[in-house]
Amino acid sequence: MSSYCDHCSGAQQARLEQLGVGFEDIDHIICLAGNPNTGKSTVFNALTGLKQHTGNWPGKTIERAEGGFVYNDKHYKIVDLPGTYSLLSASPDEEVARDFILFGQPDVTVIVLDATRLERNLNLALQIFQITRRIVVAVNFLKEARSHNLNIDLRNLELDLGVPVVAIEARDGQGFAELLSAIAKVCGGDIVPNPKALKLNIPGLKGALNQVKQLLAQLYPQLEHKEWIALRLLAGDASVSAALARGDLENL
């Protein structure tokens, strides 16, 4: 293949092989997170060739769906999570999403954003930023945003968020080449995302967080997400402190 072809998105997408549910020898696990009705299931279907039910209403995906695909000879398992507005409350669908990002050990979490509702969608994205660093952001419905006379500067957004940002038009099947290449780069370590951290300038919080983090580190040196767990404990999250009390914090 000539070097020109390597840069053509069509050629890159041609390296995608949909596997449906027949996946084995997985190299990487990725998951799709985002607000309800942002097109996660459409992305999932496009990548796996499966026919997860899609519809224009929030709350449609209630269970996580799993599928597989091959891209550039690597086998990926992809998990479609229920859409949620936040990760802070404890409704069943939010728990499914939160627990998977925390404990399913995805190599990449793809956050699908609705370009027409950027503010509210970023609200969830920032919460996911607190849990994991391996993130790719896919901005969907840019065409619709333009018809609302809304212009979104994705390069600026990428700089601001510190994670790869790609434009997709999931319903039209556009942008998947770029999305797949970003996912592969984060999985392979070619890109190391540096998600924007929350400032947390609340009086006394920084010191308290550090103390709790240290205590957790003494007890569980291997524990991931110490910062997030410490924050949830300080915020009085009953489910997290119950898990700590039971001694199974590592699998909440």
Partner: protein, 466 residues
């Protein structure tokens, strides 16, 4: 409690005293502020949105207090009318091909090679039942599902939930029950699973128990057929489709009313409590992807349901042929059972054939119609004697004549439509209800409540008619 862990918890509790008491609010506020700032830095409004204007106008029309519900009913009526009038011709064509021509042809072709009993089981039983399923069910489903899916794609379902919310609240149920109900119009098992979007366990169980009042895939074709054959034929031909549409519309709406009444009864007795509030986003209208929708609706739903129907109908067909031909003291077994069921069925305006069909069809509602046809044929002895006369003309009119010969009247048709709405869920749904509620009590109630309504309504209709 574990030592080290409880130390951390104790330390956390101490630290929390030093933090602002409204820490959670402050955190949420900070995330929100940050999100707003990021969005503001990267997005630019170039002017007023044209689309927002028409979306707002459409939303006003579709969800307003006075026009919302009437427009919803009108839309449903239009969908039903398109289905009924569109399905007639292809149905007749398929029946002509598969039943009038295919059945005798297949029988003649295989007769030299198969023993008579095997020929009977395979051709009169399995083939004929499957052929009926295809000709009766394929056309209406191939029209109804795509239209429904296009509406879903467009974003209409959340608007329906919005319109019905106030009514559901008054019944002590959750507004999102309107969404699970709409899913039930596709498949009750799917509707029961969809009830997971309801957080409150009490309201979730109400939504699960009453989901069966949404006519499912397996029951729509039967409604279309009976309405067309019996009620449509009461009036002049040009009004037949209209009358049939109104009849099916009535049954579908009655389902909503019964779901509401049952919800209200449950929330005032065994599932007492207040309706919880919730927020439901009205997503933007999106132009439906017509071709893609047609493709997926046809292959994912139509063919799926049809396949399920054939899978269940084929063995049922064989079984029916056998009960029709195994004799006890010179009387076919089917006749014995049907005669035994007849008195009970008579009270609720049905007949033994229908009740037996409903028992045989517990695994799948889809096979009620072919089972009824096959049992009627067996009962009247036509199939048994091997005569092919009965099936030679399989237009709707001929079908009506065949059933009328089996003792059917308008009352039977009306009661059958009502009973189809109000009877036990299919075995898949019952199993799903058990899996979702993990309770024998709620599962039993889910079976009994619709049956009770069915017997009550049919008995009333029968009494009033007489």
């Amino acid at each position: 409690m574990l030592e080290a862990q409880s130390n951390i918890i104790a330390r956390v509790d101490e630290l929390r005293w030093q933090l602002p008491p409204n820490l959670n609010d402050l955190l949420a506020e900070q995330i929100y502020t940050e999100a707003t700032q990021i969005a503001a830095r990267s997005q630019e409004r170039l002017g007023a949105s044209q689309r927002l204007l028409w979306e707002r106008r459409l939303d006003w029309l579709l969800t307003n207090r006075y026009t919302g519900i009437p427009l919803m009913v009108l839309l449903l009526a239009i969908v039903l009318w398109i289905t009924i009038s569109g399905a007639n011709y292809p149905s007749a064509l398929l029946a002509a091909l598969l039943v009038d021509w295919g059945w005798p042809a297949l029988k003649a072709a295989l007769a030299p090679y198969l023993a008579p009993w095997l020929l009977g089981v395979l051709v009169d039983g399995v083939y004929l039942t499957s052929a009926w399923v295809v000709s009766v069910m394929l056309p209406p489903m191939a029209i109804f599902f795509p239209i429904f899916t296009i509406l879903e794609d467009f974003g209409y379902l959340p608007r329906v939930a919005f319109n019905l919310d106030r009514i559901f609240q008054r019944a002590g149920a959750h507004g999102k029950q309107a969404l699970t109900m709409s899913m039930g119009w596709g498949c009750n098992a799917a509707g029961v699973v969809a009830a997971r979007i309801i957080d409150s366990p009490r309201e979730r169980i109400i939504a699960i128990i009453t989901n069966n009042f949404s006519l499912c895939n397996g029951r729509w074709p039967m409604q279309f057929l009976i309405a067309t054959v019996f009620l449509g034929s009461l009036v002049q031909a040009e009004y037949a489709n209209l009358v049939a549409t109104l009849a099916v519309l009535f049954v579908a709406l009655l389902g909503i009313v019964l779901a509401l009444v049952s919800s209200a009864l449950l929330s005032r007795t065994v599932l007492r409590g207040h309706a919880s509030t919730f927020s439901l986003e009205l997503p933007p209208y999106r132009p439906p992807q017509i071709l893609k929708t047609l493709y997926t609706a046809f292959f994912d739903r139509t063919i799926f349901v049809l396949w399920r129907a054939i899978v269940f109908a084929a063995p049922a067909g064989a079984a029916i042929w056998l009960v029709g031909n195994i004799e006890i003291a010179q009387v076919p077994l089917a006749k014995v059972i049907i005669d035994w069921l007849n008195p009970l069925a008579g009270i609720i305006g049905l007949n033994g054939v229908i009740l037996l069909a409903y028992i045989i069809a517990i695994p799948a509602n889809e096979i009620v119609i072919p089972t009824i046809l096959m049992l009627t044929a067996v009962y009247s002895g036509e199939l048994h004697s091997g005569s092919a006369v009965m099936f030679e003309a399989s237009s709707h009119q001929a079908l009506g004549e065949m059933l009328a010969a089996g003792g059917w009247t308008i009352t039977t048709a009306i009661c059958l439509m009502l009973f189809s709405l109000c009877h036990n869920p299919c075995s898949t749904t019952i199993y799903t209800i058990y899996k979702e509620t993990k309770s024998l009590k709620w599962t039993t109630l889910s079976v009994l409540i619709p049956l009770a309504w069915g017997f009550l309504l049919c008995a009333i209709v029968t009494l009033v008619w007489m």
